[in-house]
Structure formats: structure tokens, C-alpha cells
């Protein structure tokens, strides 16, 4: 165990960095995607409702690993067959897209549920004062919805951090992938995977602690 840490320590830390980078990028895009599709789903425009529902159902209905393969191998192959033979996508790009799309769909559901949990009278009061639908959403409904959404969002962030390990299948050098490499080099299954597991555990525990603190601070402002 000490040997592994001595030999592969920097490699593991670098891999953890990659995991966090992938996770962070995905969370940023997923939040944007979730906001957009979540708002599409709560509005009264049938076409937007339809698009939002299709997106959420489609992404939720496909395993992340298949989505990752599709984006990393399928899409470049498709674009190349159209004549753009030089088209390439690296593993980080493909991984970020796959994870953002996946997490975004769940975030859309969290946003939708959060907004729908706010009493209809709040929007009505805003509209009766002359505010537009958009202003009512931005100034009245969403700020209240965010408070109920935060525990689910934190949960989704943790799931996304763990889901980065699935992207080891497309060769992105994140933590799980590096764990495989170490295992292949040393044949020390138990120690290698114990170290990788503990590293995830530490980061996720820290993340939950920080999130809990943020949650408490927001609730205090009530």
C-alpha cells in the first residue's frame, strides 16, 4: 500500500484533479441545461413543454455509459462519414458533454419540482402588480424555489462526481481509469482499489460538508 502511494501518488492526485475538472465542468453546464429545460417544462407553451419532456425522457432513458460511447465514438464517426474526415473529439470534451447532458436532465427535473413547489399565488401576486412572467419568475418564484431545490442539487452533484468514474470507459485519465492502470502494473487489486475508493470517499465527504454549510447559510437568510 505504501509502495503504491509512493510510486503512484502524484499520478493519483493528478487523476483526482481530472475527475474534479470533469465534474466541475459538467456541473456548470448541467446547471445551465437544467435551468433551461426545467423552465421550459413549467411554462405554458406546449411546444416548449414537449421539447423539455422529450429531452428529459430521452436522456434518462439511456444509460450514461451508452451515451458516453455514442458521443465519443458515434458522433465523430457520423460527422466523418459526412466528409469532415479530420473531425475529432477528445475524451474530456466527450465526457463533459455526456455527463452534462445526463446530469442536466436530472437537474431539469429538480428545477421543475422546485418551481412547482412554490405556491401559485406568489406568481399571481407578482403579475397582479404588473410584473411580467419573466420578472415574476426571476424575482419571486425562482429565489424561493432554489431553497427547496438545494438538498436535491447537492445530492445530484455527488451522484455526478461518482458518475465521472463511468467515463473511464472512453479512456479519460480520471481516477478510476488510473486505478485500472495501477492495478494492471502492480496486480495489487485490494490495495489499488482501496486507495481509489478512499480518495473518492474523502472528496465526497468534504463536498457534502461544504454543501451542508452553504445550505444552512441560505436557510438562515429566510
Amino acid at each position: 500500500m505504501v509502495m503504491i502511494i509512493q510510486t503512484y501518488g502524484t499520478m493519483l492526485l493528478k487523476a483526482m484533479g481530472h475527475t474534479l475538472l470533469l465534474c466541475l465542468l459538467s456541473l456548470v453546464f448541467a446547471t445551465i441545461i437544467g435551468m433551461i429545460f426545467g423552465l421550459m417544462n413549467v411554462g405554458h407553451n406546449r411546444l416548449l413543454n414537449f421539447i423539455g419532456t422529450v429531452y428529459v425522457d430521452a436522456v434518462r432513458g439511456v444509460p450514461l455509459i451508452v451515451l458516453a460511447y455514442f458521443i465519443y465514438f458515434g458522433i465523430p464517426a457520423g460527422i466523418q462519414s459526412l466528409g469532415f474526415t479530420g473531425f475529432k473529439m477528445d475524451a474530456l470534451q466527450a465526457g463533459t458533454i455526456a455527463l452534462s447532458m445526463n446530469c442536466g436532465a436530472y437537474m431539469a427535473e429538480i428545477v421543475r419540482a422546485g418551481i412547482q413547489s412554490v405556491d401559485r399565488g406568489q406568481m399571481e401576486a407578482g403579475r397582479s402588480l404588473g410584473l411580467s412572467y419573466g420578472a415574476g419568475m426571476a424575482l419571486i418564484v425562482v429565489p424561493q424555489a432554489v431553497r427547496t431545490m438545494i438538498p436535491s442539487i447537492i445530492n445530484q452533484f455527488i451522484i455526478t462526481l461518482k458518475d465521472t468514474s463511468i467515463l473511464s470507459v472512453i479512456g479519460f485519465p480520471e481516477l478510476t481509469n488510473v486505478g485500472k492502470t495501477i492495478m494492471g502494473n502492480t496486480f495489487k487489486n485490494l490495495q489499488a482499489w482501496a486507495i481509489v475508493g478512499i480518495m473518492y470517499l474523502i472528496v465526497i465527504t468534504l463536498l457534502s460538508k461544504v454543501s451542508k454549510r452553504i445550505e444552512r447559510r441560505i436557510n438562515r437568510g429566510r
Binding site: 399565488g121 406568489q122 402588480l129 404588473g130 420578472a135 419571486i140 424561493q144
Partner: protein, 247 residues
């Protein structure tokens, strides 16, 4: 109508359906400046729906509604602009729970650039004083009693300087001992000449303050007139029946 008083609200042949359920069947009425019109009737008679159609929180199915000369049923009318001049008070107050009293009141006028931040603040403080809540400016809605919430809600609507006020059962969700304080604010408003439409079960309030009482049932206006006419000498059997139950 060639009245010399301004017609503030004019409703012609208004119909409103929710799916197959027709809630308003054929409503026509006019309200002139300074009138206090009280709508009474059994639940499900369409009183609240009528009120909510006036500022288009419910879209009319057919018919015409003119507010201050603007046709609010016309798609080209900027409904948000018209709503700025119609205050509405709800049964469940609908104060913005994440904002304190002052922010509740200044949010809309500042966002819509009707008032500067400072002016909105000053005006809010004056209004709070008027409804007897100057000490609650920094309080959050969850820290107020029902009666206080409703008085803030009235002040919030007045902050926009509306020329019409709609009250949708403003005292129905209140504990009995708090009804008086809200009605007192409404009476003062009526005395100051505000054009008001009030849906309420407070027959005493209607008798004291209303310039006109309208009795509705089943989506129709059954009877209307002065409080004496409708409340003390009703002609329609359905009005008599209803009053015998609530008085």
C-alpha cells in the same frame, strides 16, 4: 353611457369556462370612479372568477372587459401596464415569503421604474404607518399574524398607486379577531374615494361601505342595487334564500 362620472370598469357579456364547466355565463356590469361594489353569493357562484377576469389572472373565454378605457381582452393591450393600475388583494395574502415587508412593497414599483428606490421606501413607510405597521418594515411575512399580513398586502398594492382595488375574500382566511383590523383599513380606503370591488362574506361591511351590492349565483348576476335594496329588501327568491342563510 353618457355619464359625467368616469367609467372605470365596464364588462360586457363576459363568459368564462374551465374546460366544460361554465363558471361565468353572461356577466355585464359597469363600475364608475369612487364606487365600492361588493360581490356576494354562495361559493362557486363565480364571484372570485369575475374579479380575477378583470385583471386577466383568468383569461376571459368571451366578452369584453374595459379597464380605464383599455380593452384587456384584446391581445394587443399591454396587460402588464393595465395591471399596474389595478391593485389586488388575495384571500391567502400572497406576500413574497423570501422578502421582508419593505422589499415586498418596493419590489414591483422599483423594478417597473415607477419609483426610485428612495421614493419607494419613503412611500412604503408612509403606507405602513397608515395601516398601523410602521414597526414591521423589516419583518418577514412568517413573523406576522394573518391580519398584519393582509394589511401589508393592501399596502403593497397601494404602493403602485392604483386607481382600482380588487379584494378577493380578503378576510376569509383570518381568525375572527383579526377581521376588524383589515376591514378598518378597507373602510378608510373607501372613504378616501378609491374605486373598489370586493368579494366578501362580510355582510356588515357591505351594508356599511358598499355603494352597490351585487348578488351572484350560478355564473349570473341575480340582483344588484344599493345595500338597502339588496340586503334589506331583496326581490329575487334566490337572494332571499341566500341572505336567510348568512345573516
Amino acid at each position: 353611457m353618457a355619464d359625467n362620472k368616469d367609467v372605470k370598469i365596464s364588462v360586457k357579456n363576459l363568459k368564462k369556462s374551465f374546460g366544460t364547466l361554465e363558471v361565468l355565463k353572461d356577466i355585464s356590469l359597469e363600475v364608475t370612479e369612487g364606487e365600492v361594489v361588493v360581490l356576494i353569493g354562495p361559493s362557486g357562484s363565480g364571484k372570485s372568477t369575475l374579479l380575477r377576469c378583470l385583471n386577466q389572472l383568468e383569461k376571459a373565454t368571451s366578452g369584453q372587459i374595459m379597464i380605464d378605457g383599455f380593452d384587456v381582452t384584446d391581445k394587443h393591450t399591454d396587460i402588464n401596464k393595465v395591471r399596474e393600475n389595478i391593485g389586488m388583494v388575495f384571500q391567502h395574502f400572497n406576500l413574497f415569503n423570501h422578502l421582508n415587508v419593505l422589499k415586498n412593497m418596493t419590489l414591483a414599483p422599483v423594478h417597473l421604474k415607477r419609483l426610485s428606490k428612495e421614493d419607494a421606501r419613503d412611500k412604503a413607510m408612509q403606507l405602513l404607518e397608515r395601516v398601523g405597521l410602521s414597526d414591521k418594515a423589516q419583518a418577514y411575512p412568517s413573523q406576522l399574524s394573518g391580519g398584519q399580513k393582509q394589511r401589508v398586502a393592501i399596502a403593497r398594492a397601494l404602493e403602485m398607486n392604483p386607481d382600482i382595488m380588487l379584494f378577493d375574500e380578503p378576510t376569509s382566511a383570518l381568525d375572527p379577531e383579526m377581521v376588524g383590523e383589515v376591514l378598518a383599513v378597507m373602510k378608510e380606503l373607501a372613504r378616501d374615494g378609491m374605486t373598489m370591488m370586493v368579494v366578501t362574506h362580510e355582510i356588515g361591511f357591505a351594508r356599511e361601505v358598499a355603494s352597490r351590492v351585487i348578488f351572484m349565483e350560478g355564473g349570473y348576476i341575480i340582483e344588484e342595487g344599493t345595500p338597502e335594496e339588496v340586503l334589506d329588501h331583496p326581490k329575487e327568491p334566490r337572494t332571499i334564500d341566500f341572505l336567510s342563510k348568512v345573516l
